[in-house]
């Protein structure tokens, strides 16, 4: 299993997902740093992403758009908050308005990606996403998601446990 652990903290409006890859840390970092590689995994197959501006240095804005099945092109952005190659990337992310600028009415989230390699050749990637508010969280869920409401009772029970 690639995904090792998922932690959902309802109170903190936070989800952490930890995964492990049979690859050295530099190659894992490349999938974030190289926009041509990044766009091959960021969007789902039905909404592939194209990154327009992409520079992972502190304060820089990363912009992208996704292309939907009906030709719609919703945009998104990141603002880089902290970088420590190849161990840490912290960024805000959100949706763009029609002019490709960060939307002031759309919600955003804060993401923290940490990478570590141990043993050699095995890289652990932890992604923590924190929502600014629960309302933001719900809006994001409602927007980007292909998957419908599929909360089976068993999953709810696991969450409530």
């Amino acid at each position: 299993m690639t995904v090792m652990k998922v932690e959902k903290d309802v109170e903190a409006k936070r989800m952490t997902i930890v995964s492990e890859f049979a690859a050295p840390i530099d190659r894992v970092w490349q999938l974030w740093e190289n926009p041509r590689l990044l766009e091959r995994w960021w969007g789902p197959p039905t909404y592939p992403a194209t990154f327009v501006d992409h520079d992972l240095s502190v304060g820089s804005m990363v912009t992208y758009f996704m292309t939907g099945p009906s030709g719609d092109r919703p945009g998104g952005w990141w603002r880089v908050l902290e970088v420590d190659v190849p161990n840490l990337l912290r960024f805000e992310s959100g949706f763009a308005d029609d002019d490709g600028l960060p939307s002031t009415v759309m919600p955003f989230m804060i993401n923290r990606v940490t990478l570590s390699e141990h043993p050699k050749g095995v890289t652990t990637m932890a992604i923590e996403t924190r929502f600014a508010s629960l309302a933001d969280m719900e809006k994001i869920m409602s927007m980007g998601m292909e998957e419908g409401m599929k909360g089976a009772l068993s999953q709810i029970d696991a969450m409530l446990a």
Binding site: T2, V3, V6, K8, V10, E11, K13, M15, I17, S19, F21, A22, A23, D26, R27, V28, Q30, L31, E33, N34, L37, R40, W41, W42, P44, Y47, M66, G68, D72, P74, S103, V105, M106, M125, I127, T129, S133, L134, A135, M137, E138, K139, I140, M141, S142, M143, G144, M145, E146, E147, M149, K150, G151, L153, Q155, I156, D157, M159, L160
Partner: protein, 123 residues
């Protein structure tokens, strides 16, 4: 489907979500929800499960009811409480959906790493 209809900030919905999560943040309330999903309980029957007063349990039930997680109905002198499955499902679904998105990304991430390693494609 991606839709921008949700750009419209819906205060009613915001307040509702906050109530839902607040209601579920307490372990006693989570337990009441779990029990009330299995059937109807009177408040006094629920109070028997917890080391707290009837009034305290009644207060928890009121919070859950305001959040739409349980329904109350009167039967004689008793108040009967049952779980509202749809609301509870909604809370779980929010987090589940987000998990699904990231699982999808990580699957593609892993596939890509393998492909790139096959090509010997280092930057």
């Amino acid at each position: 489907m991606l839709t921008y209809n949700y750009m419209v900030v819906d205060m009613t919905s915001d307040a509702r979500v906050d109530r839902l999560f607040h209601a579920l943040a307490d372990p006693t309330r989570r337990d009441i929800v779990k029990r009330s999903l299995t059937g109807e309980f009177s408040v006094s029957a629920l109070a028997g499960f917890y080391p707290m007063s009837f009034a305290a349990v009644q207060k928890h039930v009121a919070v859950l009811s305001a959040a739409g997680l349980v329904r109350k109905r009167r039967s004689g002198r008793e108040q009967l409480v049952s779980g509202d499955v749809d609301s509870i499902r909604r809370v779980g679904a929010l987090l589940d959906q987000f998990e699904e998105i990231w699982r999808g990304r990580i699957d593609r991430f892993d596939t890509l790493l393998i492909e790139e390693s096959g090509k010997g494609a280092e930057k």
